[in-house]
């Protein structure tokens, strides 16, 4: 059984912060197909389109029939741990700092043998469940987990290298005025975050749910206005060195395309809050996050963007909003690359219309703020990078994968 994680001690300011080394990151282009599955928490290997062989390591020709058609497909992830070893000497600096390190060979029921990281609760001969995850460098790796949930399973030392679990971490929720921010604070507190800083702009203005928000355990209200560079900088100056996860809950949902209004006021507001707000957060909190990616149990871990799934394809009914979301998605991709040297994950949580006031005319299915918050915490716990929440988001993603042009037409009137 995994020993429960001990809360980290207060940091001695005189000790050196451990540099965020990354595990070996070189991969063939074909092997990067694993990363696409790992980013979403799927377990996909190459499956020969001609003979059906399940293939690993990734190849460019089927070892059974030499077919070059080897798409990645979701496959059953269970198998048997045939042999394990505890590496006590490693030539790589990242692993040297983390020895001893357990790996093993798993024979998948689906066929191939996989060399994999091992969760502390699995033993030689056990049935195990494989998970594909992105490591600190953003490359896919496999890890063998118990087939049944175990007590304190998420606290495993090797597993925590692959996840961004909020437990004992300090989280900044950037906007607590709305239901999404409040649900997020609640979910993160329940996930045992050490502190949940919740940003409130113009704190003299009361807002619905304020009392309940203040009553959540370990919530600390902080002044934060994402439209104000000075405000974001001031807060980063105060708490930036001890924020491990940033969850940007700022919303600016408005119906309408470009022709329904004259002028740029709404669009400018959206860009100011969402796009420039993201940039302000990135510039103020990013450097400290990137420097603290290996700083112990409460190392910096993630930057979470809540995005409309219509960032991926414009929904003209909310056309201006969709285009601002698309700008945020592009910025998030840049931020992902920029934070990678620190081992920090940028998590994009895509959802369809939320069950909130700005979507009142939109028919269901809609995503409740608490479902969005739960999906976000789940993504952090599993170390995901791209998450689709709710039926609309799943639908858009599926259609986009098959035929983007058809989706563009379908989203219009």
């Amino acid at each position: 059984m995994t020993p429960p994680l001990a809360p980290p001690k207060r940091k001695d300011p005189l000790t050196k912060t451990r540099a965020p080394l990354l595990p070996p990151g070189a991969r063939s282009r074909t092997a990067k197909g694993l990363a696409a599955a790992a980013a979403e928490g799927r377990f996909a290997l190459q499956v020969c389109a001609e003979c059906g062989a399940v293939i690993y390591p990734p190849r460019d020709a089927c070892p059974r029939c030499l077919s070059p058609r080897l798409p990645f497909r979701d496959v059953p992830r269970d198998g048997v741990l045939l042999a394990e070893t505890v590496i006590a000497a490693s030539s790589d600096p990242y692993f040297r700092e983390r020895l001893p390190w357990r790996i093993g060979t798993v024979r998948l029921d689906a066929g191939p043998s996989i060399v994999t990281h091992l969760h502390g609760d699995v033993r030689e001969g056990d049935r195990v469940r494989l998970s594909l995850n992105l490591d600190k460098g953003g490359q896919a790796v496999a890890m063998a987990l118990p087939t049944m949930p175990m007590l304190h399973m998420a606290d495993d030392r090797q597993w925590r290298e692959l996840t961004c679990d909020p437990k004992f971490r300090r989280v900044l929720v950037t906007d607590g005025r709305g239901r999404v921010g409040q649900a997020m604070a609640q979910a993160l507190s329940q996930a045992e975050a050490a502190i949940v800083f919740v940003g409130i702009a113009d704190s003299w203005k009361p807002f619905p749910g304020e009392a309940a928000l203040r009553a959540i355990a370990r919530v600390e209200i902080v002044p934060l206005d994402l439209t104000d560079t000075v405000s974001v900088g001031d807060l980063a100056g105060e708490i930036g060195g001890r924020v491990d996860i940033v969850v940007n809950t700022a919303e600016h949902v408005r119906p309408g395309g470009m022709l329904e209004r004259t002028g740029l006021v709404v669009a400018r507001e959206a860009i100011e809050l969402r796009y420039f707000g993201l940039m302000r957060l990135a510039q103020s909190f990013g450097p400290a996050l990137r420097a603290r990616g290996a700083d112990g149990v409460n190392s910096a871990a993630a930057f979470v963007n809540l995005l409309s799934v219509h960032a991926l394809m414009n929904w003209p009914a909310y056309g201006v909003f969709s285009s601002a979301e698309a700008a945020c998605l592009s910025a998030a991709q840049s931020l992902r690359a920029e934070l990678r040297p620190g081992g920090i994950k940028v998590v994009n949580v895509f959802s369809g219309p939320l069950d909130t006031e700005w979507y009142e005319t939109v028919p269901p299915p809609k995503v409740t703020p608490s479902a969005l918050a739960a999906a976000t915490v789940d993504a952090l716990r599993r170390g995901l990078e791209d998450v689709y929440v709710g039926d609309v988001a799943e639908d858009v993603r599926a259609r986009l994968a098959v035929n983007p042009k058809a989706l563009e037409r379908e989203l219009g009137p």
């Binding site: 990734p58 030539s91 790589d92």
Partner: protein, 392 residues
């Protein structure tokens, strides 16, 4: 297994001029320097001149941008037959097979086969991190334990399946060290006890320190020619009786428990017209003792799973029963990259020609040499073996 009817015997093919350039733990010299010295060693031993060498086979991992062809200009050679065999532990056997057929067919008269690698600070890490695409994609990112971790899982599985203890593997390592104490070029010069073997620090369980070879710099070489040419030169030589070579065998085994030898071992003995009981000494590829034990089984000295019992029944020393890795093997001499795949072959030729540098195997008439290598993902892909005999 029956011998393939179409395989031509190696009549008249001999191996001569065994050369070892004494190993060093680290070297600031290049692989070219080591290989050049080994070729010169063959010339000095054989009395041939550079222009007499009309065949060259090179094995190395650390030549940088060069292959065998670049070395012809580097060394001022003008061969009419050239080969490049970067097959790690199988390099020696494979080079010998190809060179022998070239000589037999008259494509070349004197083929020098040479393997050499340098070992500079950090070059081992650089080599294992990019050893193969599969290693890069699917092994090195898992703890970067290198071959130690890969063989740890092979050893662990073998122990579970067939029951040998660490002491059984220790017996192999300890016996080899005993053989190495009289071999002048061994890097490991201290006697090794079973207690010290068992107490050594873990590297990747169940592999401990004395299960591992020490990466080093060095070179090995030999000459392949016809027996009459060797006689003309007054060169002691060993006859090549038979060989086998196999890649990626038993891919269906979830974890490697056997090399490729069982596929072809019948042919190895049939072609030589002898059985395992007539072998006077065995040189296995010993990057880890478990691999040597697997070779004892796969080469027909005992049945699968009986390697431990077989080891317990012999001293494995040059002056005892079933001499094994008579120079001390890589475990005691060191692993000089591809030269590790030549070490047993060069030592066998010395033993069979009465030129042992250390303790000779008494009345050594037939030696079996095997090669194994190239663990590109989870198992060694290349296996080979050769039977050699002394000339009375």
């Amino acid at each position: 297994m029956t011998p393939s009817a179409s395989r031509m015997p190696y009549d008249g093919i001999v191996v001569a001029a065994p050369v070892t350039i004494p190993y060093r733990r680290y070297s600031i010299n290049s692989a070219h320097w080591w290989i050049g010295r080994a070729i010169r060693g063959v010339l000095e031993r054989s009395g041939l001149r550079s222009r007499d060498l009309d065949g060259l086979s090179v094995s190395s991992f650390t030549l940088g941008a060069d292959t065998a062809v670049g070395l012809t200009q580097h060394f001022g050679l003008s061969p009419r037959w050239l080969d490049h065999v970067p097959l790690g532990g199988a390099s020696g056997i494979v080079a010998l097979r190809r060179a022998s057929r070239a000589v037999q067919c008259g494509d070349a008269e004197f083929v020098v086969c040479v393997a050499g690698d340098t070992n500079q600070v950090d070059s081992f890490r650089a080599m294992i991190s990019t050893f193969s695409r599969f290693a890069q994609d699917a092994v090195y990112p898992y703890g970067s334990g290198g071959p130690n971790a890969s063989f740890a899982m092979i050893m662990r599985n073998y122990m579970q399946r067939y029951g040998p203890t660490r002491a059984d593997f220790g017996k192999i390592a300890v016996a080899q060290r005993a053989n190495a104490l009289s071999f002048p070029y061994a890097l490991m010069k201290q006697p090794l006890t079973l207690e010290a073997y068992l107490a050594s620090r873990p590297i990747a369980e169940p592999i401990h320190l004395f299960d591992c070879v020490m990466p080093c710099a060095g070179a090995e070489a030999f000459l392949v020619c016809r027996d009459d040419r060797a006689r003309d030169l007054g060169l002691p030589a060993a006859r090549l009786l038979s060989t086998i070579e196999r890649y990626n065998a038993f891919a269906e085994d979830a974890i490697q428990e056997r090399g490729g030898w069982p596929v072809d071992v019948g042919e190895l003995y049939a072609m030589a017209g002898i059985g395992p009981e007539q072998v006077d000494f065995l040189e296995t590829y010993d990057d880890y003792p478990v691999i040597s034990m697997i070779q004892m089984e796969d080469l027909g000295f005992c049945a699968k799973g009986e390697g431990a019992a077989f080891v317990r029944g012999h001293t494995l020393t040059n002056d005892g029963s079933f001499p094994h890795n008579t120079s001390g093997g890589q475990l005691s001499v060191g692993q000089a990259g591809c030269a590790g795949g030549y070490l047993g072959l060069v030592e066998a030729v010395r033993q069979l020609t009465g030129a042992a540098l250390g303790t000779p195997v008494p009345e050594a008439r037939i030696g079996l040499v095997s090669g194994f290598g190239m663990i590109t993902y989870d198992r060694g892909l290349a296996s080979g073996a050769a039977l050699l005999a002394g000339i009375d």
